[in-house]
Every structure is written in structure tokens, then in C-alpha cells.
């Protein structure tokens, strides 16, 4: 092996990927690295920085809405800020978060590969991601102001507004391209680089979820890419495509936008479900219940999820038949998600549950995602949706699904895998304190959304009726608790990277998948020798200690 020439360090361990081993040192050794683990860290820095920006913007929105008239910002700034909050959180934070950080880091390790199939393309994806993010930031500071159309860029707002729309649209286009390349890379990696013996049904469920996600990224993203490109062309060259004054059809834009952006919901949530499927069995010390059903349900979500986009448009006046079919399919798409929830619950049943921080976040995921999912079903019903369209109910729903779902899964993944990635453990007590702040703050913030939405509070509205003020005040107080929790969590995690207790054992939590059998933190090419896989990923004896020691890989 190539590693034989590298000297072992004091503990008889090989140097980890965190130590520069090539010609380049310092920052360049990171920025030009094709190591999937280093690229994952680069993504982590990007995603979490933008998350901080997105949270700050959301925090400002909540402060503004304390009073029914203007509070701290004017109406135009309000429009720009809720648009930026949506664009940053959706396209720059939650879409890449779990696949690009944890997928990049753990997908190759989990299937016993040294890297992804196209390491250099992987680095290119990151650069595209950063270019896209930078363009969004530029749109904020350049004269003209950030886009003020809402993150959905509906026509005719997006062809008429005088703001820096082109920056925002191009940014989303570039980010989409980054996402496509990541999807293509993961699909090829899973098809071609599985270690000997790693059959499809020996893959960890996180890998399965990334596989399903890869297909959605690859097939759905180009549609929104071309749609936004068309809006750019329409704005720059005045070509008649969607603008109704030139004969175009604004409803067609909505169709084409949601054809991607609904599947994008599943790009966001499916990897999150994969994370939960990893964490639940480890902390319940039980084999996951219904492995194949969870694996297939990821694929089912990818398939059904592509056929429900028009449920975002029930209020625009589609034909009765179309509305009926889309409503029916919307109910159907809930089934695979429910299968997963029931399987996780069944895994917990009679398990010996350890309430470590990752498990707390995973349980919060199940609880909050269920509320998000069920409020989604309510809006899948045609007559109810006509009433609820564009109210705070949908805003509450989207935050329960995306923040309560993917956000919690992201935090779960951070607490689960960060010690593996950096070899240092965070303060577990503080992690739990942060969790309860986040969980309580989250519900105080978003549950009033559902109530006032049901009572008719319109979304994206700068002024509102005084009768809704009490809900806004409760929500704003919730946002303070939530942000406090987030601060505690991130400070705790960041501190752990410098001063945390050093973790030396390979298997920190008692997991059975391959990432727990390699060194902590992993070495440059993950494995000294490519492992031969013989066991399934979740082989626990019921209610017993994991059987890990029986088959060491290294």
C-alpha cells in the first residue's frame, strides 16, 4: 500500500486526513484537496456560515412582525429579507446540507471506497456552490437591492422588479449545477465503488437515501435550471417567454418551477431520513425494523414525489381532473414517509434506548416531521387548500418539515458524526441543554404560525390585522429561545474542536456500519486495505451489546 511509507505517529496510528500530507500545506492543502473528507469540511464551513446568515434574517423578520405596522424596517426591506431568508435557507443551506457534508464524508467510507468516483468534479461542485453563495451575498450589497419576489420567483414579479434579480437567478442556476454534479458523482460512486461483498442490501440506509436523492438531483434540477435561465433571458433580452404582455403564460412558469421545487423537498428530506435511520438503531441497540421497506420507501418517495408538483397551485385554477389527480397523488406520497416513521417507532419498541444528544435530535425529528407531514396532508385536500393557500399555515408547515425535519436531522448528524470527523467529543451535558432550548423554542415559534394561518393570517404580509398580534408576539419570543439554543449548540460544538475530550476508539457510539470500523479521525484514504464486507449494516442482537468485535475489518 501507498501508506506504508508514511510514518506512524506516537499511538501507532496512521496520520488522519486532518494532517497535511502532500506537497501543499495550510490553506491551499484544503482549498485544492480532492479528498472527499476535506471537501465535506469545506462544505460544512459554507453551509453553516450561510445558515447563520439565514437565521439572522429570520430573526429580523420576527422582530419586524412584533407590531402590526412597521417596526424596525420598511416594507421594501421586509420583502427583500423574507426573499433572501427563503433563497439562502432553501438553495444554499438545506438542499446541500446533509448530502454535501455528511454524504461526502461518509458515503465512500460506508460502502468501503477510498473516495467518490470523480474526486476533482467533487471539488468543482464545491467551488460552484461558493460562487452561487457569493452571488447571493453580492445581490444583497450591490445597489438595486436583493430580489424581493419571494423565493418562488413568480412571474410577473420576477420580470418586472427592479432589484438585482439576475444575480439571484444566476446564483440558483449555478447552485443547481453544483447539486447535479454531486448527485451524478454519488450515483456513480454507489454503482461502481462498493467494496467486495457490499451488496445493495448490505448498504447502510443513509447510503440508500443518498442514492434516491442523487436521482432526484440529477433529473429534477435541470428543469428549474432551464426555467430560471429563461427568466434571465426574458429580463436581459426581452424575449417573450413567460410575460403575459408578450403572449407568455405565467402559470406555465409555476408548473415548471414546482416540477423541480417539489422534488427538491425530497432532496431536502430524504437524506435527513437516512440520517435518522442510522441513528435510531444505534441508540436503541436494535436491528432496524423493516430495512428493505425503508430502502424501497426512499425510492418510492423519489418516484411519487416527482408527480405531485401541482398541489402548490390548487388556487390558480387548474382543471378539475388535474386537481383531483394531483390531490390523490399527494395523499399517496405520504405513505412511504409514514412507512419510515412506523419502522423507526417499531425499532424503538423494546430497545434499550440511550438518550444521547444525537438520539434526542432524532426523536425530535420524528415528532416535528410528523406534525409537518400531517399539516401537509391537510393542505393536500382541495377544498381546505383553497382556504389555506398563502396563509401562515403553509409557512408553519414548511418550517415544521424543513427545519423540524432536515434541520433537526442536520443537528443530529452533527452530534453523531462530528466526534468521528475530528476525534474530539463535545460537552454532552451542554448539548442536551442546547437541545431543549431548540426544541421548546422551535415549537413556541412555529406552532402559532399554524393557528394564525388557520385563522387567516396571510403570509409575506408587512401589515397585519391587530387580532393576530398576540400570535406574532408569542412566535417572536419563541425565536429568541430558539436562537439562544442554536448559539449554545454551535459554541459547544466549536469549542469541542479545540478543547473537547480526545476520542481514540473507532466505534464511538456502538454503530455497525463501516465508518465505525475505521480509525478516528479517518486516514487519508479511509482504509488501509479495502474491506471485505460480510455482515449486514445493522446486525445487533436484540437488546444486547452490538456484535461489532466479532468481525474487525481493519
Amino acid at each position: 500500500m501507498s501508506n506504508s511509507s508514511i510514518a506512524l505517529d506516537g499511538n501507532g496510528k496512521l496520520p488522519s486526513y486532518l494532517i497535511d500530507q502532500g506537497k501543499r500545506k495550510g490553506l491551499l492543502a484544503w482549498l485544492l484537496s480532492t479528498d472527499h473528507k476535506r471537501i465535506a469540511i469545506l462544505y460544512m464551513i459554507g453551509v453553516l456560515s450561510f445558515f447563520a446568515v439565514g437565521v439572522s434574517l429570520g430573526f429580523i423578520i420576527r422582530l419586524e412582525l412584533l407590531t402590526p405596522q412597521g417596526t424596525i424596517i420598511d416594507a421594501q426591506a421586509y420583502n427583500e429579507i423574507f426573499t433572501l431568508h427563503g433563497v439562502i435557507m432553501i438553495f444554499i443551506v438545506v438542499i446541500p446540507a446533509i448530502p454535501a457534508i455528511f454524504g461526502n464524508f461518509f458515503l465512500p467510507i460506508m460502502i468501503g471506497a477510498k473516495d467518490v468516483a470523480f474526486p476533482r468534479l467533487n471539488l468543482l461542485s464545491w467551488y460552484l456552490y461558493i460562487i452561487g453563495g457569493t452571488m447571493i451575498l453580492l445581490s444583497m450589497v450591490l445597489p438595486g437591492g436583493a430580489a424581493d419576489t419571494g423565493w418562488t420567483f413568480y412571474i410577473p414579479y420576477s420580470v418586472r422588479t427592479g432589484t438585482n434579480m439576475i444575480f439571484t437567478l444566476s446564483a440558483v442556476f449555478v447552485l443547481g449545477f453544483s447539486s447535479i454534479l454531486t448527485g451524478m458523482n454519488f450515483l456513480t460512486t454507489i454503482h461502481r465503488l462498493r467494496a467486495p461483498g457490499m451488496g445493495w442490501f448490505k448498504m447502510p440506509l443513509f447510503t440508500w437515501s443518498l442514492y434516491a436523492t442523487g436521482w432526484i438531483q440529477l433529473l429534477a434540477t435541470p428543469i428549474v435550471g432551464i426555467t430560471l435561465l429563461l427568466v434571465i433571458i426574458e429580463r436581459v433580452f426581452g424575449v417573450g417567454l413567460f410575460d403575459p404582455t408578450l403572449g407568455g403564460d405565467p402559470i406555465l412558469f409555476q408548473h415548471m418551477f414546482w416540477m423541480y421545487s417539489h422534488p427538491a423537498v425530497y432532496i431536502i428530506i430524504v437524506p435527513a431520513m437516512g440520517v435518522i435511520s442510522e441513528i435510531i438503531p444505534v441508540f436503541a441497540h436494535r436491528t432496524i425494523f423493516g430495512y428493505k421497506f425503508i430502502a424501497y420507501s426512499s425510492i418510492a418517495i423519489a418516484v411519487f414525489g416527482s408527480m405531485v408538483w401541482a398541489h402548490h397551485m390548487f388556487a390558480v385554477g387548474l382543471s378539475n381532473n388535474a386537481e383531483f389527480i394531483f390531490s390523490l397523488l399527494t395523499f399517496l406520497v405520504a405513505i412511504p414517509s409514514a412507512i419510515k416513521v412506523f419502522n423507526w417507532t417499531a425499532t424503538l419498541y423494546k430497545g434499550s434506548i440511550e438518550l444521547e444528544a444525537p438520539m434526542l435530535y432524532a426523536l425530535a425529528f420524528i415528532f416535528l416531521f410528523s406534525i409537518g407531514g400531517l399539516t401537509g396532508i391537510i393542505q393536500g385536500a382541495l377544498n381546505v387548500d383553497i382556504y389555506l393557500t398563502d396563509t401562515y399555515f403553509i409557512v408553519g408547515h414548511i418550517h415544521y418539515v424543513i427545519f423540524g425535519g432536515t434541520g433537526m436531522a442536520l443537528f443530529a448528524a452533527l452530534h453523531y458524526w462530528l466526534p468521528k470527523m475530528f476525534g474530539r467529543m463535545y460537552n454532552k451535558k451542554v448539548a442536551k441543554v442546547a437541545f431543549w432550548h431548540i426544541f421548546v423554542g422551535f415549537n413556541i415559534l412555529y406552532f402559532p404560525f399554524l393557528i394564525m394561518g388557520w385563522l387567516g393570517m396571510p403570509r409575506r404580509s408587512y401589515h397585519y390585522l391587530p387580532k393576530f398580534q398576540i400570535y406574532h408576539i408569542i412566535a417572536t419570543v419563541g425565536s429568541w429561545i430558539l436562537v439562544a439554543g442554536l448559539l449554545i449548540m454551535f459554541i459547544n460544538l466549536l469549542r469541542s474542536l479545540r478543547t473537547g475530550e480526545i476520542v481514540t476508539e473507532n466505534n464511538i457510539w456502538g454503530g455497525e456500519s463501516l465508518e465505525w470500523k475505521v480509525q478516528t479521525p479517518p486516514i487519508a484514504e479511509n482504509f488501509e486495505e479495502i474491506p471485505e464486507v460480510t455482515a449486514a449494516p445493522y446486525e445487533y442482537k436484540d437488546n444486547d451489546e452490538p456484535v461489532l468485535e466479532k468481525e474487525e475489518v481493519n
Partner: protein
Amino acid sequence: MTTENEVVVHAHRDDVGARMGMWLFLLSEFLLFGGLFLMYSIYRYNHQHDFHIAAEGMNIFLGTANTIILLTSSLTMALAITAMQKGNKILSLVLQIVTFLFGLAFLVNKFFEWSAEFKEGNYPGSPILTAKPSGQILYYGLYYTMVGLHGVHVIVGMTIIAFMIRFTIKGIINKDDYVKLENAGLYWHLVDIIWIFLFPLFYLIT
């Protein structure tokens, strides 16, 4: 990552994987154009008569010439790959250059075609076009967008072929390792196949 390890990673050769990646990427490209074809079909369904009239303004001679040029260039590209497989480096190089020149000829043709359209006042935002019925505005909007985006792909394809020519000269592409050339060929065929659909949809619907 160590330099040694880097060598290991990149020395790891997986031609099947490389081709698979390319096919997946092409699938993505098809869907990119798929969005446009979807728009075309909906707008044409809504404005059948206008599309018919607008299409009569197209220069069928230049369109046909470009179809022949592009189809032939796909042939020369395929031959270039076969020549490389058989170890005939010089022939492969010549065929790649010919493919590149065909691409250039396509663009030159397109330039003259668009110039003529612009002279007639059929460009976006012109007073002549804006005065026409909305179906015809949409036809020209789609024409410039779809053919323009295809033109961008021709340029990208030619850039890729230019790199392949360089790699062939340097010997990076050789008898035993020609997957890069194959992938370039796949991309060029994508450019070709999209044109095969664009040509009848814009020139032959009168």
C-alpha cells in the same frame, strides 16, 4: 491527501464508471432541454396557426445545410473514436479536427441565418416583432432561446473536442486509454440529437 495517494486515486481507472457518469450527465442535459420542449409543445398547442405562419419565415436551405453538417460531424467523431481504438493516431487526429471544423461551419451558418432574421426585424423587442400576434412572438422567443442554447452546447462541444485534440497529440488519449474521447463523442452526439429535434420543430412545420 498525500501526493502518493493522489497518484493512487487517479491511477484508479474505471472506464465503465467514467462512461456511466457521462450518461448520467447527459440525462440531466436532456431534461434541461426537456423543459424547453415542454414549453414549445404547450405554446404550439395554444397558438397552432401563429406557429405555422412564423415558421414560413425560416430559411429552410440553411437549416437543412446545418442538419447535414452536424450529422456528418457525428459520423467523423464516431470514426475518430474507432480509429483511436485501432491505434491509428494520425487518422483519429485528422477526424477530430474535421469534426471541430464542421462545428465551426455550423456556427458560421447560424450567424448568417440570424443576421438575416435580424435584418428583417425579427428580433426580440423589435417594433416589427412586437406588433405581431403573441403566438409569433412566442415562436421567435422559443426559436432564439432553444437554438441559442443549442448553439452554446455546440461551442462547449467544440471546446471539449479542442481539448481532445490536445490530449491526442500529447498521447494522454491513446490506443489503451480513450474513454475521454468516447465521452467527448457522447457529448457531441447529444448536441447532434437535440438538433435533430429542433430542425423539424422550427423549420418543417409549415
